[in-house]
């Protein structure tokens, strides 16, 4: 009887696996079709839907890329985006890590509420405060500077980082740290030599997420910078808004060029990303 139940179970399971494969294949195809369509268009491969059945205009070309490469200062914007996103990530993670460490090693009334307020801060959209922020940055002479936008973006992403990093740190058993303390290590040595290496995978995953969010952030650099500092999303938006007559194929090439560096980065880091976890079950103590 037991064997039979197991067998049936196994058969059911095989059935389930094939359904799952089918659904997953459909999901991958559906979700990525817009990207495939855009890549095809960037090479000049576009359908004509006015005829039935639709015909494809097949004359592959790299003209669109040449035109997109002619955008004023594309390389400069790439450099700016890399600089802002890297510095933002570094700063946000560093300050968030110290605070998260402190939180994870303290017990006080209202600690959970404090953690939750970081989460609420993290869900506060940029538009809620970016208008007065522009005014303040102008008063502080930080408007349209690399320093200003980096500090603003680091403040935008640090709350999420505190919440997530606290999750990893709270998991850590204090034994290693106690042992190091008995050996005479100071607090900052313990953070640097003991806690940091153990939580490195989690930190790396959080850093990748912050980097992607910062790279794709439009509104903040759109409002807080102008001519001196221009990121890729800002370039895309001004290009599109001011040249609304822009043709699809050139836009597609620009989209592909703007997406590729980040997609390559995420592809390279996707094993690291698997360490990312918002799992709040661990945040409960």
């Amino acid at each position: 009887m037991v064997l039979r139940a197991r067998l049936q179970h196994r058969q059911k399971r095989r059935h389930y696996v094939s359904w799952r494969g089918l659904l997953l294949a459909a999901a991958v195809l559906l979700l990525n079709m817009p990207l495939l369509w855009t890549s095809a268009a960037s090479f000049g491969i576009v359908p004509d839907n006015t005829t039935s059945p639709p015909t494809w205009l097949l004359h592959p070309t790299d003209e669109n890329y040449l035109e997109a490469a002619g955008f004023p200062n594309l390389l400069g914007q790439l450099e700016t985006s890399i600089a802002i996103s890297s510095l933002t990530t570094l700063l946000a993670i560093a300050v968030a890590y110290l605070a998260a460490y402190s939180l994870s090693r303290s017990h006080f009334m209202g600690k959970r509420l404090l953690l939750q307020s970081f989460l609420i801060l993290a869900s506060l959209p940029v538009i809620a405060y970016v208008i007065p922020e522009k005014n303040l940055l102008q008063l502080a002479h930080l408007y349209d500077t690399l320093v200003g936008i980096t500090l603003a973006e680091a403040a935008l992403y640090a709350p999420l980082a505190v919440y997530v990093l606290h999750g990893y740190l709270a998991q850590l058993s204090p034994e290693h740290e106690e042992a190091a303390r008995l050996d005479g290590a100071g607090t900052f040595q313990i953070i640097w030599r003991v806690a940091l290496p153990i939580t490195a995978p989690g930190i790396a995953a959080t850093a990748v997420i912050v980097f992607v969010l910062s790279w794709n952030q439009l509104l903040m650099p759109f409002v807080l910078t102008a001519n001196h500092v221009q990121t890729i999303p800002v370039m895309l938006s001004t290009f599109f808004v001011y040249e609304r007559e822009l043709d699809w194929e050139t836009a597609a090439a620009a989209l592909v060029v703007s997406l590729l560096p980040l997609a390559a980065f995420v592809a390279a880091a996707h094993r690291t990303l698997e360490q990312f976890s918002l799992d709040v079950a661990r945040q409960e103590d």
């Binding site: 538009i127 007065p132 680091a154 640090a158 794709n216």
Partner: protein
């Protein structure tokens, strides 16, 4: 253990970042929303105007439409993202060859920036050369109406938002699902529970807080929606897709009405705080 002083000290760098670059701007916006402060007209005497800014915004039909739009937008997009993202994560729950690649491919739409998403879909819904109308034409069906008209622009914006965010929900849910012990699933399956029953009795009790947290983040993002809308429709046609975020931006930087911009921004803050309060209460209820 850390001394009290050390604990405080470790918080200083974060405070130095958050106070001037997040809390102060928000507070400054809040205070000036009760005045006629206008940085674009220097030299004007700043005076207290009470609730005037709030009242004039509440009487603005565009703002009221924007609130209605964002309510529809947030409700529809967030629920679809949660359900779809959970479903995708569920499909990835059991290990198989190539799962890592599939996981990456399913995350890819989220890597596309909101700006790029807006621009891309603007062209993909084009009737002559876009992706959407290709399929009815291929199958000999009558072609679809243009999807960015007054009636259809908001649903279209919602669908593009779901396309970009559902993958991220999958990414956030999956670690939680993977943390559910395998024998609990097997047990439920041997008991003959259907898939939805398994999810309800095995996964959801454990993932309740994670799902709440994801919902909070998604709602905050949806309430402030601006970038995708600006690129896809420019808030139009008319004000069919205007959101409070878009309204704030327009008021502050296109109409140069600073007070209206910050005031409507504070409506967004208030909405997020309200959602946050509900989150705190619901999270507590689950923990007790």
């Amino acid at each position: 253990m850390l001394t009290r002083r050390q604990r405080m000290l470790l918080f200083v760098p974060l405070a130095l970042l958050l106070v001037p670059f997040l809390l102060l701007p928000a507070l400054f916006g809040f205070l000036t929303s009760f005045t006629n402060y206008a940085p674009f007209q220097p030299g004007q005497l700043v005076r207290f105007v009470g609730l005037d800014n709030y009242l004039s915004i509440l009487h603005d039909d565009t703002f009221r439409t924007a609130v209605r739009n964002v309510t529809v937008f947030a409700t529809a997009s967030v629920s679809a993202e949660l359900i779809g993202g959970f479903g995708l994560a569920y499909l990835l729950r059991e290990s198989f060859r190539g799962r890592s690649i599939v996981r990456f491919l399913l995350l890819l739409p989220w890597v596309v920036s909101p700006v790029a998403t807006g621009i891309m879909w603007h062209f993909l819904v084009n009737r002559e050369s876009g992706m959407i109308n290709y399929w009815p034409a291929l199958l000999g069906l009558p072609s679809l109406p243009y999807l960015l008209t007054f009636e259809l622009a908001l649903p279209t914006a919602i669908v593009t938002e779901i396309w970009r965010k559902m993958p991220f929900v999958m990414f956030l849910v999956l670690p939680g699902l993977l943390a559910v012990p395998a024998d609990q699933w097997d047990q439920a399956r041997l008991e003959g529970l259907p898939v939805l029953g398994q999810i309800r009795h095995v996964a959801l009790p454990r993932l309740r807080l994670l799902m709440l947290t994801i919902t909070l983040l998604l709602l905050g993002d949806a309430l402030g929606n601006f970038e995708n809308i600006m690129m896809l429709t420019g808030g139009g046609p008319g004000s069919a897709t205007t959101t409070p975020g878009f309204y704030s931006y327009q008021k502050a930087f296109v109409a140069f009405n600073w007070a209206a911009g910050t005031t409507s921004g504070w409506f967004i803050v208030a909405a997020v705080l309200l959602v946050g309060l509900v989150y705190v209460i619901m999270a507590r209820r689950g923990a007790d």
